[in-house]
Amino acid sequence: MKIFAAIDIGSYETGMKIFQISKRNGLKQLDFVRHRVELGTDTYRTGRISNTHMDELCSVLEGFNQIMASYKVDDYVAYGTSALREAESTMIILDQIRIRTGLNVKVLSNSEQRFLDYKSVALKGGKDFDELINHGTLFIDIGGGSTQVSIFEKGILNSTVNLPLGILKIRSLLRALEPGRSKYIELLNEEIVNELFSFKRQYLRDKDIENLVVIDDYLPYMMQKFRGAGAPDEVTAESYTAYTDEIKLKSAEEIAKSVGIAPENASLMLPSAMLINHLVKDTGCKRVKIPGVTLSDGIAYDYADKAKVIKAVHDFDMDILSCADVISAKYKCNGYRQQALLMTSLAIFDNMKKIHGLSKRDRLLLELSARLRNVGRYVSLSSPAHSSYSIIMGTEIIGISHVERAMVANIVFNSFTDEFSYADFNNEELDADQSLRVIKLAAILHLSASLAQNPKKKYAKVMAALKDSELLITIQSKSDITLERGNFNNRADCFEEVFGIKPVLKYKGVNEI
C-alpha cells in the first residue's frame, strides 16, 4: 500500500488529492483540498505571475506539505497547467517554488493535461466508459485558459481540438466590459457561439453524438444541487438544459447561496454551464455526464497505471495512435507506405530489445514517428524532413508531452538524413538521454524507411532476428524489392554506427498476398 499525493496547480485553483493505492483495493481517495489562487488572471493578462499570487501559491503549497506530512505520503507528483505553461518565465517560477516549498513541479503540455483528465474518467468508468464511447461521445474538458473537445466514435478517439474557451478568460473578458446581468448572459452566449462556430463546421458535421462527458470543477456542484447527494453523475439533455436555465437567471451570489459554494467559484460555474448548454443543443445529444473528476485524479490514475498497481480496461496508447492516424489521414500519408514503415520499424525495435535498451514508451514514440513521418510530403516534396518536423511540432497530439512531441519530430527529421550521428546531434529542447533515444529511434526509422518508399508495395510480413552481430530482416512480399535493397544497404552503415549491429536484408517471395 502506498500513500500518494497528486498536486494540480491550475489557472484559478490549486488542488491536492491524497490517495491510498494498493493492488487489492486500487485507488482510494483519502483527502481533497483546494485553494483558490487565480494564477491565470495574471498570466492571461500580463504574461507574468504577480508576486502576490506567487506568495499565495507558495503558502498554499506549504499547507499541502503539512497535509502530506500528516499522511506520511510515500510519493507525490505535482503538475502545473496552462497558467504556468503560458507564463513568460516558467523555469524561474518552478525554481522559486522548489526553493520555497521543496516541491518539484513539472509543467504539463495541454495535450498531456487533457490526456490525464481523460484517463481519469476512463479509468474511473472502467468498462462503462468503453461502452459509452462506442457511441458518439463528445469529451469536453473545461479549463481556465481553454477547453479541449475530443470526439469518440466506435470506441476510438476520432479527433481532438483545443478551443480558446477558457472560463477564466471568458469571465475576465466579460467582466472588463462591465455589463448588467442580462447583457452579461447575452455577451456570454455571443462569445460561446463565436468560438464554437468553426468547430461545429469542421468537426461536428455528420456526427451522431449521443453523449457529452464533461470535466469541470464547478458543474458537479450544480449537479449536486439539482440531483441530490449520491445521485448518478448523468442527466438527460433536457434536465441539463433546465438546470442551466434556472441558474443563468441568478447572480453569482444567488448561485453561490443556492448551490452552496463561494461566490467567486459561482462566477466560473456559469460560463461552463452555458458552454455545455450550447454543445447540448448543437449536438442534439441524449445525455450529459459530469463525473466530477479533476486533474489530480488523472495524475493518480496515471501513477498507479505506470506503477502497474491498477490494470486499465481501456488501451490509452491506442488513443494516442488513433489521434496520430487522424493527423496522417489529414495529410494523406496513411497508405501502404506507412504500413510498411510501421511493420519494419516495429519488427526491428522488438527484436533489438537486448541491444537498444529502450522502453515501451519509446516503442510508442517510434510508432507515432512512423505514422507521422510522411506528413510533410503533403506540403513539400523537396524538403519533407523540414515540413514533417514543422507539422509535428505545430500539431497537438493528445497523450504525449511537449518533450515527447519534440522527440517524435526529431526522430522523423533525422530519419530523412543519411548522415547523422550522435556527435552532430544537438537539440536544445532535449537532454542527453532524450537525444540518445532520438538517435536510436531515428536510426531504426531511417533504416525502415528504405523499405517503405514505394506507396504501392505491400508486404505480407516483416521479420527481424538478431544473429551474432547481425540483424536479419526478412521481407515476405510478392513484389520485387531490388530498389529497396539498394537503399537499405546505403543506410545500413548508419544503423551499424548507432547500434554496433550490421543489418542484413533477406527476401522471401510469396505467391499470393
Binding site: 500500500m1 500513500i3 485553483e13 491510498q20 494498493s22 483495493n25 482510494k28 483519502l30 483527502d31 481533497f32 483540498v33 483546494r34 485553494h35 483558490r36 499547507g63 503539512q66 506530512a69 500528516s70 499522511y71 506520511k72 458537479p220 456542484y221 449536486q224 447527494a229 449520491g230 452552496g260 459554494i261 463561494a262 467559484n265 466530477g292
Partner: protein, 744 residues
C-alpha cells in the same frame, strides 16, 4: 390536503410578528426560571446560593452583550423591528422593567430567604461593618492593614486628575471627601461613616478605590458562636476608608459597579493578524460604553450625580441595590468548607456504558460507534481518545476544534504531547469565544510553541463545532477515528453540562471530518457531504428539509413527529417551518432550556407544539433532533441551536446517529426528558412557564434519573467484569491521576 386546510393555510402568515416572542424577553424568562431554583425550598440551601449566583452572572453577560447591542442599534438610529415586531428602543424599554424586577427578586430572595436561612444553618454574613463586635472589628482592621491596604490604589478627582477609568464589572467604592480644616488635620480624625449622608458645607471632592479582585471577596471573621461568620471585602474597606484619604474627611462612601459594552467589534477583513487584533480589542473592552450602573441603595445623591455625569448614564440604567453588589460571590460562598450537608452530594461521573477505559480505544471504536453521555458518564474517554492518539505509533495526525477549554486542560496537554511525539497536530482554536478570548489566546500560543499548527478561527465566522479527527495508518490502510460532540472539550464543564458525544470510525464520517478540517484550514468546501450537516452553508436548509418532510408525511395522512432538544430556538425560518409543520398535523415536542421565540397554543399555527425547559443541577446543553420520518426515524446531534447565529454565522456540525442501540438509548433519553415533572417548566400560550401538574403522577426528575441509570449500568458492568475475570487489573495510571473513581 383537504381544501379547507389549504384555504386556512393561505390565510395564515406564519411569519407574522404576533407569532413570535422577542428573544431578549425570552432570555429574561429563562433567568427567571433559574431564579425559580434559587427560590425553591426543596433544594439544598447552598445549591440555592449557586443558582442565585448564576442568575447574577447571567444577567451581567446579558447586559454586556445583548443590552449593549440593542443600545448600539438605538444609538445608530436603527429602527427595524425584530421578529416579534419590537424596535430596539421598545425592547430596551421593556427589558428595563423586566431586569429591574429580576434584580428586585434576586435581592428579596437573598435578603429575606437565604440570609436568614444561612444564619440558622450556622453561617452569619455580616451585612454591614457597623454590626461587627469589638473582636471582629479588631480582626477586620488588622486584616485591612496587613492584607488589603497594600493592594489598594485610592484615586481622587480634581482639576489635575481626571475621572479614573472604571474597569468593566469591577467593584468600586466611591466617596466624597473634603479637605480637613487646620484644626482637624492633626486630629484623631477617624470618620465614622453611616450608610446615610453626612451633611457638610465644605467643598466636596470625588474619590474612589477599586475593591481588589486579587483578594477573596468573602473574609472569614471570628464568630460569635459555634457557626461561621463572614464579611464582604468591600465592607472591610469601607470601615477603613479614611485611612486611604489622610488629610481628608470622608463625607460618604458607597460601593458601585459598572457594566460596559463588551461586544468586540473586530473588523476581521481588515485585521492582518487576528490574534493581535483580538488582544487589542480585549483591552478596549475595559472602556466600552457604560450601559448599567449598580449602586448601593440609599447612595448619596451628590455622589450619584457625579457618577451619572462622569459615566454618562441615564437614570433607567441605574440599579439601586438593596444588598451587596455583584452576587456572583455566592459561588465562592458555595465553596466554603463545612456546609456539605447543605449541598447536593458531589456527582461523580460513571464509567461509560459502551466502552471500557482499560482497553485500546481504537479497537473499541472499530467494534462499533460509542455513545457518551456527560456528565452522567465520565469525560475520560474523550481525553483518553486524544491521549492514546498522542502516544500511538500508528497515529499520523490529530485535528481538533477548540472553543472553550478548562484552566488546566488535559486535552491541550495531550495535544502538546502529540506534537512532541511527531504527530501532525492541527487545532482550530476559536479566539472569538466570548469572554474566553484571553484564555484561548494563551492556550493557542502554548500549542503553537509545541509545534502544533494552530488556526485562529475563520474570518467572519465563529467555529463552534466540536470535532476531533485522528488519522491512523493501519494494516489495511488509513483509518479515521472521529469524536463528535454537542459540548466543548472542557473536562471541567463536562461535569456540569449535559452533553452527548459519539466516537466513530465510519468511513463516511471520517471523510466528512477531513473535509471539515480542510475547510477550516482555508481550503474549498467539498462538492458533497456524506453524513454531516455543516453550518453556515448547508445546515439550515437541511433542517428545513427535515421539518418539511415531516409536514409532507402529515399532509399525506401519515404519522409525523419531531422531538428536538436544544438550548435556544429563535431562528425565524425554522420557527415558521415548525408552525407550518404543526399546521399540517406534525406533533412537535421541543425541549428548550433557554430562549424560545416560538409561541405555543396558537390556533392553526402551533396547536401541536409543546415547549418545555429543564433547569436543573446540571446545565442542559445537548442538542438532539429526532424525526419520525414515516418510521424510518432519523436522529441527529450536534453543536448548533436553532438560532440564526448558529445556522448562519458559525461553523457548526450536526451528525446522524445510526447505530440502532444508540438510537434507542437516545430516544429513551428524550422520552425521559419529556416526562420530567420536577425540573421541567412548560411554556404557556401567554409566554409564561409553569411547572407541570404532578398530581397523581410519579415524580420524575430526568437528571436524577440519568444519574441513577448511569450508576446502575456502571455497577452491573463492574460486577460482570469482576465475575468473569480471575484477577482484578490495576487502575490505569492516567485514570488515577485525574482522581476518577473507576476501578475496572
Amino acid at each position: 390536503m383537504s381544501k379547507t386546510k389549504e384555504k386556512n393555510n393561505t390565510q395564515i402568515d406564519f411569519s407574522s410578528p404576533e407569532y413570535f416572542t422577542n428573544r431578549e424577553i425570552s432570555w429574561v424568562k429563562f433567568d427567571e426560571r433559574v431564579m425559580g431554583e434559587a427560590r425553591d425550598k426543596n433544594i439544598p440551601l447552598f445549591e440555592r446560593l449557586k443558582f442565585l449566583s448564576i442568575t447574577a452572572s447571567n444577567l451581567d453577560e446579558f447586559f454586556m452583550v445583548r443590552v449593549a447591542s440593542l443600545k448600539d442599534m438605538e444609538n445608530a438610529g436603527y429602527t427595524k423591528p425584530d421578529i416579534a415586531g419590537l424596535t430596539p428602543t421598545q425592547q430596551l424599554k421593556e427589558l428595563n422593567g423586566l431586569t429591574h424586577e429580576l434584580v428586585d427578586t434576586q435581592y428579596s430572595t437573598y435578603n429575606r430567604s437565604l440570609l436568614p436561612l444561612l444564619k440558622t444553618n450556622g453561617l452569619t454574613v455580616v451585612e454591614s461593618h457597623e454590626e461587627l463586635n469589638e473582636e471582629q472589628k479588631e480582626f477586620v482592621d488588622r486584616y485591612f492593614a496587613d492584607t488589603v491596604y497594600p493592594v489598594l490604589t485610592p484615586m481622587a478627582v480634581d482639576s489635575a486628575r481626571p475621572f479614573p477609568l472604571v474597569r468593566n464589572k469591577s467593584l468600586n467604592i466611591a466617596a466624597l471627601v473634603t479637605e480637613k480644616s487646620g484644626d482637624n488635620k492633626n486630629g484623631t480624625g477617624l470618620f465614622k461613616r453611616g450608610k446615610g449622608k453626612k451633611k457638610t458645607n465644605l467643598p466636596v471632592e470625588f474619590a474612589m478605590v477599586q475593591v481588589p479582585d486579587v483578594l477573596p471577596r468573602i473574609v472569614n471573621i471570628p464568630s460569635k458562636g459555634d457557626g461561621k461568620s463572614v464579611i464582604l471585602l468591600e465592607e472591610v474597606i469601607e470601615r477603613n476608608i479614611d485611612k486611604l484619604f489622610l488629610n481628608y474627611t470622608v463625607v460618604c462612601a458607597h460601593p458601585f459597579r459598572v457594566m460596559r459594552n463588551a461586544d468586540l467589534s473586530i473588523d476581521e477583513d481588515e485585521a492582518e493578524d487576528l490574534l493581535k487584533e483580538i488582544e487589542k480589542q480585549l483591552k478596549r473592552r475595559q472602556w466600552g460604553e457604560v450601559i448599567r450602573l449598580e449602586v448601593e441603595a440609599g447612595i448619596d445623591r451628590r455622589l450619584l450625580g457625579i457618577l451619572k455625569k462622569e459615566l454618562s448614564i441615564e437614570e433607567p440604567d441605574i440599579y439601586f441595590i438593596p444588598g451587596p453588589l455583584d452576587l456572583t460571590f455566592l459561588m465562592k460562598m458555595y465553596s466554603l468548607e463545612g456546609f456539605d450537608h447543605l449541598k447536593t452530594p458531589d456527582h461523580v461521573p460513571e464509567l461509560p456504558k459502551y466502552m471500557s477505559l482499560d482497553k485500546n480505544i481504537f479497537e473499541q471504536i472499530k467494534e462499533g460507534d460509542i455513545l457518551l453521555k456527560h456528565p452522567y458518564e465520565t469525560f475520560e474517554p474523550v481525553i483518553k481518545f486524544v491521549r492514546e492518539a498522542a502516544k500511538d505509533k500508528d497515529v499520523l495526525a490529530i485535528k481538533q476544534t477548540l472553543y472553550r477549554v478548562s484552566g488546566n486542560s488535559p486535552i491541550i496537554a495531550a495535544l502538546i504531547q502529540a506534537a512532541e511525539n511527531g504527530k501532525q497536530v492541527t487545532v482550530l482554536f476559536e479566539l472569538k469565544a466570548r469572554f474566553d478570548e484571553e484564555n484561548n489566546i494563551i492556550w493557542a500560543k502554548a500549542l503553537e510553541k509545541a509545534g502544533c499548527h494552530v488556526i485562529y478561527g475563520i474570518v467572519g465566522l465563529k467555529t463552534h463545532s466540536k470535532i476531533t479527527l485522528v488519522v491512523r495508518r493501519e494494516e489495511d490502510g488509513i483509518r479515521r477515528y472521529v469524536h463528535l460532540g454537542t459540548g466543548n472539550y472542557n473536562d471541567k464543564t463536562a461535569r456540569m453540562y449535559t452533553d452527548m458525544g459519539i466516537l466513530t470510525c465510519a468511513e463516511a464520517i471520517g471523510e466528512d471530518a477531513t473535509a471539515v478540517f480542510n475547510m477550516l484550514s482555508g481550503y474549498s468546501e467539498p462538492v458533497t457531504w456524506n453524513k454531516l450537516s455543516v453550518a453556515p452553508l448547508w445546515m439550515k436548509s437541511r433542517f428545513l428539509y427535515l421539518i418539511g418532510r415531516e409536514a409532507d408525511h402529515a399532509r399525506a395522512g401519515r404519522e409525523a413527529r419531531i422531538v428536538a432538544k436544544m438550548n435556544s430556538l429563535c431562528d425565524p425560518d425554522i420557527i415558521e417551518a415548525l408552525y407550518k409543520a404543526s399546521n399540517a398535523g406534525v406533533k412537535i415536542d421541543l425541549i428548550i432550556r433557554g430562549i424560545c421565540c416560538l409561541k405555543v397554543g396558537i390556533p392553526k399555527v402551533s396547536e401541536n407544539i409543546t415547549v418545555r425547559s429543564i433547569v436543573g443541577n446540571f446545565l442542559e446543553h445537548s442538542r438532539i433532533f429526532w424525526f419520525l420520518n414515516e418510521g424510518n426515524e432519523e436522529i441527529y446531534m450536534g453543536s448548533a441551536d436553532w438560532m440564526p447565529r448558529n445556522l448562519e454565522r458559525r461553523v457548526e456540525i450536526v451528525f446522524p446517529v445510526e447505530r440502532m442501540e444508540l438510537i434507542e438509548d437516545l430516544k429513551a433519553f428524550l422520552k425521559l426528558q419529556l416526562n420530567d415533572n420536577v425540573k421541567a417548566s412548560l411554556l404557556q400560550p401567554d409566554g409564561t412557564y409553569v411547572k407541570p401538574d404532578r398530581r397523581g403522577r410519579s415524580v420524575i426528575d430526568s437528571q436524577a434519573e440519568c444519574v441513577k441509570e448511569a450508576a446502575k449500568v456502571a455497577k452491573s458492568r463492574k460486577n460482570s467484569v469482576v465475575k468473569t475475570r480471575t484477577f482484578i487489573p490495576e487502575r490505569s495510571p492516567e485514570f488515577n491521576e485525574n482522581g476518577e473513581s473507576g476501578d475496572i
